[in-house]
Amino acid sequence: MILIWLMLILFAGGIGAWLSESRGIGVPRVIALVAILLDLALVIFMLLAPESIGLTPVTSEQDEWLVLFQADWIPRFGISFIFGADGFSLLLIALTVFLGLISLGSAWHEIKERSGFFYFNLLWTLAGVIGVFTALDLFLFFFFWEVMLIPMYFIIAIWGHENKEYAAMKFFIFTQVSGLLMLLSILVLVFLNYQATEVLSFSYFDLLGNGLTGEVGMLVMLGFFIAFATKLPAVPIHNWLPDAHSQAPTAGSVILAGILLKTGAYGLIRFTVPLFPDASMAFAPIAMTLGVVSILYAAKVAFAQSDLKRLIAYTSVSHMGFVLLGVYAWNAQALQGAVMTMLAHGFSAAALFMLAGGLQHRIHTRDMDKMGGFWGVAPKMSFMALFFTVAAVGMPGLGNFVGEFLVLLGSFQVSITTTAFAALGLVVAAVYSLIVIQKVFHGENKNNYEFDDLTFIEMACFALMMIGLLWMGLYPQSMLDMAEPTLRSLGVAFP
């Protein structure tokens, strides 16, 4: 039930925020804050004291669900409410709620128009994402996949920047078309499974071990893969991301980069590979190559950008390439690395987008060629930018390094050539990251910009993310232990 509460609180908070819109900007955001804090409290309980709310704690011995909820929905078609969380989903739920709080912080002073509706969309997106991370019925999963998309569309289309309609439409079409492929795949899978077993069910557990092989298996798998790879995103289906990111308001970028991209990776790990092990195995070399292409290609495009948000958007594509590589290497180190990269990138990318958004809010441009020398103007902001850039470069001691190192360590055992190319990612990441520091924070302040340094709320958000990244970088074991039972149950060997 606790999972349902997580979502209900957000849904209700969202409606409450919308209804209170006429009472000025103060009320909706407080309602949103309360809803997110309630969720956060629940998540903290789930993480730290699961027994106290009647859950079984995650241990490395058992591979059971921490919490599982089942109820009928449309029994005629074998559709039911199945929500479950294990260590892996719990980590992602925690990431979602935490970044929800951060995005609220970044919207606090930025969103002034129609704030009630804005917080409605924000909370509903978060609820949709939690649904995606917990739904274990494929129909239900698809339902939440859509729920998180539509509010996000509004966030970009209404509160976005100069080219928002184009970006929102592009985001919508990419996600819809790929989502449609997934829906087709789900239907074919359920139908074929019905033919084979006489059981009509959308349940994840019933569909595991469906035995689809050959061309059909490959085609059905590809439907899932394309949907998730679009969300991830992987080159060459990444083009919605730079536009969506550069046009979205700060809070939107934080959620997009921090959380929404992870639903793609989650889908690959939870559904695509376990449902279609044979097809995935056959497809792995291509997927790994796509991962490496994403790493290198996006890094190169990122380097050439002068729009700060666009640049960061492309670095996201590059980093998520490591996740794709790790998932399809499918061994203990690589998958744990993929999970760590998901979490760490959630923090570092969210922080960088928040910085870029904060800058745009202050000086009304994203053009790096106009910036420079901001260290003299805003030293706190510059220090934070340096910290999160260094994290993104993959500095040991911070979370991103753990993820990327484990991915490469794992994938090396599968394909040396692929890994050798992926390791070049370490070099090109330095190239595109350091140019940001140079153009924005170092050098001369050519246009004599003057603006306020970080506010208290911003400082608090960055400090939280900083602690998070240090924690992941210095003591990742706490998270690796959470994810391990899940990965074991998905059939990953931990030798």
């Binding site: 083009n239 500095m395 390094f401 360590l409 090396f412 055992q413 890994t419 070099v427």
Partner: protein, 615 residues
Amino acid sequence: MIDLLWLVPTIPVIGFLILTFSCGKLSEIPAGIVGAGSIGLSFLVAMLVGLDFMSMSEAGIHSYSQTLWTWMAVGSFEAGFTLYLDGVSLVMMFIITGIGFLIHVYATGYMHDDPSFARFFAYMNLFIAAMLILVLADNLLLLFMGWEGVGLCSYLLIGFWFKDPYNGYCARKAFVVTRVGDASMALGLFLLFASLGTLNIQELMVLAEEEWEVGAGIAVAVTLLLLGGAVGKSAQLPLQTWLPDAMAGPTPISALIHAATMVTAGVYLIARTHVLYELAPSVQYLVGVIGMITLIMAGFTALVQNDIKKVLAFSTVSQIGYMFLALGVGAYSSAIFHLMTHAFFKALLFLTAGSIILAMHHEQDIFKMGGLRKDLPWSHALFLIGTIALVAIFPTSGFWSKEEILASALTNEHGGYLLWLGGIAGAFMTGLYSFRLYFLVFYGKKTHDGHEVMGWHLQGPLVALAILSLVGGFIHIPVEEVFHAHAEDHHVSLFYQAIMIGLPLFGVLCAYLIFIKQKVDVEKLAGSGFGAKLHRFFYTQWGMDWLYDRVIVFPYVGLAKLNKKDFIDSVYNGTASLTRYLHSVVIETQTGQIRWYTMTMALGVLLVISIGVFA
């Protein structure tokens, strides 16, 4: 006491945190006390640890390890925050904290009145912490953490005066070029884990000896990949191009990072994993050859520079070349010994150069100096001491270490005449370029006045370093147990010894004849035809920057700029445009005129009928 080992890297971290989170509110004196004091304290703890270690050594225990916590354990992979202390890491720890402390003290004087005083010391402290982790790591992953950490601090400190974009360029170049090496090293780590199943250094050495044969392909591959990392960090061929540019940083940084400590990390890495290199003799020989070529090349380049710091930078590249040469012939303890003495005299030279630069109001061009020995008596004496140690004149510290290396090159089984000849040619070059620098700065016609900048925090550390440069050769480094099989005993005949003592002196003599007596007209030689070309060739590091720019940098930047708009996007936008176009075509048919609709309908019917009839 030895269980205080963890404090040695932790104290600088605390210093870093205090300095960073004071957000620039700390004024100079407290910031200096925290910055330099933390390193001093760390040095004291290192002393205590060292004393304990020595008494343990006498009792026959030659290593100590301390596990702090598990970093990551996934399946069979495990790496912890575990510190490991043996003779080599002990020596390195002393160099880092000791020389580091002296340089920190000097820097409190040098950076006086800099608006970012606290930020400077924050980065310096972080650097010391990372460097200590590098040398104290018990596994290669933790070593890699220190390795990347020092690279980051190097980047931050080269670009410390960030207002000038040139400094930023130099800093980025240093970071990216060394990262190329780091990527190679990371692959080496993956390969080691894939084949031996651990990254713990001591276990790796044992396992490798058990499982690999001498000359095995895997050993060759691993050592080559690690060598990639080592040449990047230690500025050896072919990745040496970043070090001269790194001189853009404040001079104490050049002394600490780009002379005494970080750039010797590659030497440390190879010495630490020497067992692997012995399993790959061809690669080990390659190490020696790289060292030899680098030391000669850098010597030539040092000879034609006119920036005082760049001369010293190329001299550093050259001296590290000696260390690589020593590693290549299996004289590991000589390499570490030279690493130590080089840290003494090169830190002294750089810091004194810093004093000269201060005295000359930030002038670094040696042709604008000259005749300074009267104006700057302190700097003159100290610089001379550093120079004779660098040239390896008997009985300074540099003499003992360089002599050991050259003798090993001659006598060790991996050595040979080729490496030895390269080494003594380099010794001659060292004499020549070092005294060229010395004569040009302190003798000749005086063009500008200099005013010695005095202060105990400036001269104090310099005197300490000068003493170490003179007598440091008599320090015994306790590394026999680590390089067990290599108790070195070199019997070199008097003939060779005379050459090794004499050639540097000959170099000095040549410098004297050329630059004091002016027996050779240098300007005429370098100003005309072939001479000018040669001068240009040496000056630009044998054209390697030029080559890298054209082969790697320009194509990468060019292609990136060309594809700024991401050509894949045009596929999607093209689809959208096509749809819109088709839409506009079809919309033309919707005219709202009844006769148009009637006519098309009739035509359609006609078409269908005719298909029916004729088909």
